[in-house]
Symmetry: C2
């Protein structure tokens, strides 16, 4: 980390003149006297302020023009960063931790609260010392991307890496992943690695780690406990259940969505309770069926991104659908209204898409509930036009499944069959 | 209604030969003896069965080949359909009921349970006799569309019709509307008629009326009570709070979403309790602020549909965004991931859109929570590219608001200002 991270122009000059750097403990005389630690700033910050973390934990911006005096104090010593290998304990189960990036894999400087984007899996492991007491964790970095930059190519790489360990002595695999698109990744792994012999658990954190309340450590501990104490296959997302630190939720990787931008309990199982609830003393199981509905492990690590997601709304111009057809797309997932409807204005374009052999699947923008296309005239018309009602599949999951199904088959009829086959609990009662 | 509605081929022949029609009470000998009423069928039904509504209320399909004997019984008399003008009571407040179609305006034959799609507003009124005791209701049909076929042109017509009554002696206006896109319509009315002097209440029903549990009547009564007993301006959606018939929820028309495909309590206020809860004896108010954040009524009944909604996902091809730009769109609402992110792969196209003066707004596919584009690098990059973070505006509302703002201004800077101005409680704390 740069000693002056985020500072520029006047504020950078101010720090240099006063011989202080990020992380120093200082006492500053302005309108009143402040004591605290110099914090790093974001790259787009102005150059008129410095930021101080007060002992209360709050950050405060101080206008440099108004500062009369600044002096270094004997505060905490600067933390020297070092890579530490975690000791292994004989007899504990083995877990593989793969990191892909995201807030959970951000480097935490507990003293300054600075977040830097790359933390090796090994560092992530050593930053949560509790882990070494419950499992022997091998750690490996796959890449370092915030999850809005995770692309289908990354899904393939993650799946291929996991597939190397289908016959390993690991009890399970944890993937540290950004939360934004975590449920898209979990869906792809659920289909591509259907039947995988050991659990695959994605884990992230919602709070950037400059807050005392970061959820990273507890989610990681929850994921580890889940693997150690449960003998179950499947792909799961493990995150805080709510704002409370006592309960960690374990969601089916094909029935979960990020439903809040910032809350720690942002992930929710759609239409049901989380599959497992992990507390300090027990793991409560809420599901009766196996995650995988296929018996054999037969990896199919392929996909085709020529699948579009169309959220229908009043004013949607079917010309946009026509362009998607002309672009050579092979699948379209509609986020229809209500039970699975789109306006009559769309029918001609839908007919054209069907005639071209494009797979057409219907989900609902309501997100919760089941598609029901025989209730109203519109639904029945759409069935006649070749649209396949995808039961209660979540739109994002349907999109990923269609990419995967089309990547594994050239035949539209076969794709239709795959889309309606319950492979990884993507369809529930 | 046709006497043989939905019957064809063999089943139609069977009815004719036995001289029975839909709505007749019959006794049928098959494996056992059934008593009930002949029900209409859906148009795509097979011709091997007839459907009987048993006294228990359940419908049963009987295979005609297995029927040994059928005879008409002296059941309830066929209900003769007639238009009945509801008597007015002096001293009661006046309400205008406009019908636009949807399940709520479907014709209910309580005896056969058949649903036909057109019910005049007057019939809707007379079908719920309780209404006449609490208000004098004038009824008018605007059109008869299921709401997936309600287009922005319909929004304009509804707004223009309502605008005619800005100086009337009505206490409020109720709009019977299909539920699928009801929240899009309520959003448009909230902006186009901001400051409207009397409440505008949209009401629908989730259950097709062939079930005893239809919510149409209770929602309509709830809407009427709300108008009569509350002296408040605004645009609201009034629907069942949950599966329970005792509580009706009244949602702010810009903070609500259909979140379940079929439940009666499908509509939910995002991130908060409903604005009002209506029970038999009281109306509980959960909001402290006025719905409209503007003081004057100054209708602006315009829109431009050249606004696209882009739900970003891994694998989204920026070529689709380029085509939208080339199509001459004037606004784009992103449903980004998490706090308001889209992948780096989109940046070049976003830059191009911004240079063309297209309004670019960011919302989140999480639906709940606030956009926060200064937390992570991606967000800050997108701010630099000209994307406007739309706070906690719901994506569908942001889309409608952008159509309206762009329909009222040629100037992108002005559109940006309008989009961030809290007009009708679309932004909340």
């Amino acid at each position: 980390m740069s000693e002056y991270r985020g500072y520029n122009g006047d504020s950078l000059k101010f720090l240099k003149v006063n011989q202080i750097t990020v992380g120093d403990s200082v006492k500053i005389l302005s309108d009143i006297t402040y004591s605290g630690i110099i914090m790093p700033r974001y790259e787009h910050s102005d150059d008129k302020h410095i930021v101080l973390k007060l002992k209360s934990g709050y950050n405060i911006g101080l206008e440099i023009e108004k500062i009369e005096k600044v002096e270094k104090t004997e505060g905490l010593q600067k933390i020297i960063e070092k890579d530490e290998k975690v000791e292994k304990t004989e007899g504990l189960q083995k877990i593989l931790l793969l990191s892909t990036g995201g807030t959970i894999a951000s480097k935490i400087d507990y003293r300054t609260g600075a977040v830097t984007p790359v933390l090796t899996a090994e560092e992530l492991n050593s930053s949560v010392p509790e882990l070494a007491k419950i499992a022997n964790i091998d750690a490996e970095v796959l890449f370092s991307e915030y999850s809005e930059n995770i692309m289908p190519e990354h899904w393939l790489k993650i799946a291929e890496k996991i597939n190397e360990y289908s016959k390993s002595d690991y009890s399970g695999i944890i993937i540290a992943h950004g939360t934004d698109t975590m449920h898209y990744t979990s869906s792809f792994l659920s289909f591509a690695l259907a039947g995988f012999p050991i659990p695959i658990v994605l884990v992230g954190s919602q709070r950037s780690s400059d807050r005392a309340s970061s959820d990273a450590a507890l989610n990681l501990i929850g994921a580890t406990k889940f693997i150690i104490e449960n003998n179950t296959k499947g792909v799961y997302i493990v995150m805080h259940q709510d704002e409370n630190d006592d309960t960690i939720a374990c969601h089916l990787g094909t029935r979960v969505r990020k439903n809040h931008t910032s809350k720690r309990g942002a992930f929710q199982t759609i239409g049901d309770n989380p599959a497992f609830i992990i507390t300090e003393n027990q793991i409560q199981k809420n599901i009766s069926k196996d995650f995988f509905q296929v018996n054999e492990f037969n990896p199919k690590i392929n996909l085709d991104t020529k699948v579009a997601l169309i959220k229908y709304h009043p004013g949607y111009d079917p010309k946009l659908l026509n362009q998607i057809i002309d672009n050579g797309y092979r699948g379209i997932i509609f986020e229809g209204t209500g039970l699975g409807h789109i306006g009559k204005i769309m029918y001609e374009s839908v007919k054209k898409a069907n005639e071209k052999g494009i797979f057409l699947g219907m989900t609902s923008q309501c997100i919760d509930g089941r598609i029901g296309m025989t209730v109203y005239e519109s639904g029945r018309d759409l069935l006649d036009l070749g649209i396949i009602p995808l039961e209660n599949m979540i739109p994002e999951v349907a999109l990923v499944k269609a990419m995967w199904a089309i990547g594994n088959s050239q035949n539209t009829e076969e794709v239709k069959k795959i889309m309606l086959q319950n492979i990884a609990s993507e369809l529930t009662n």
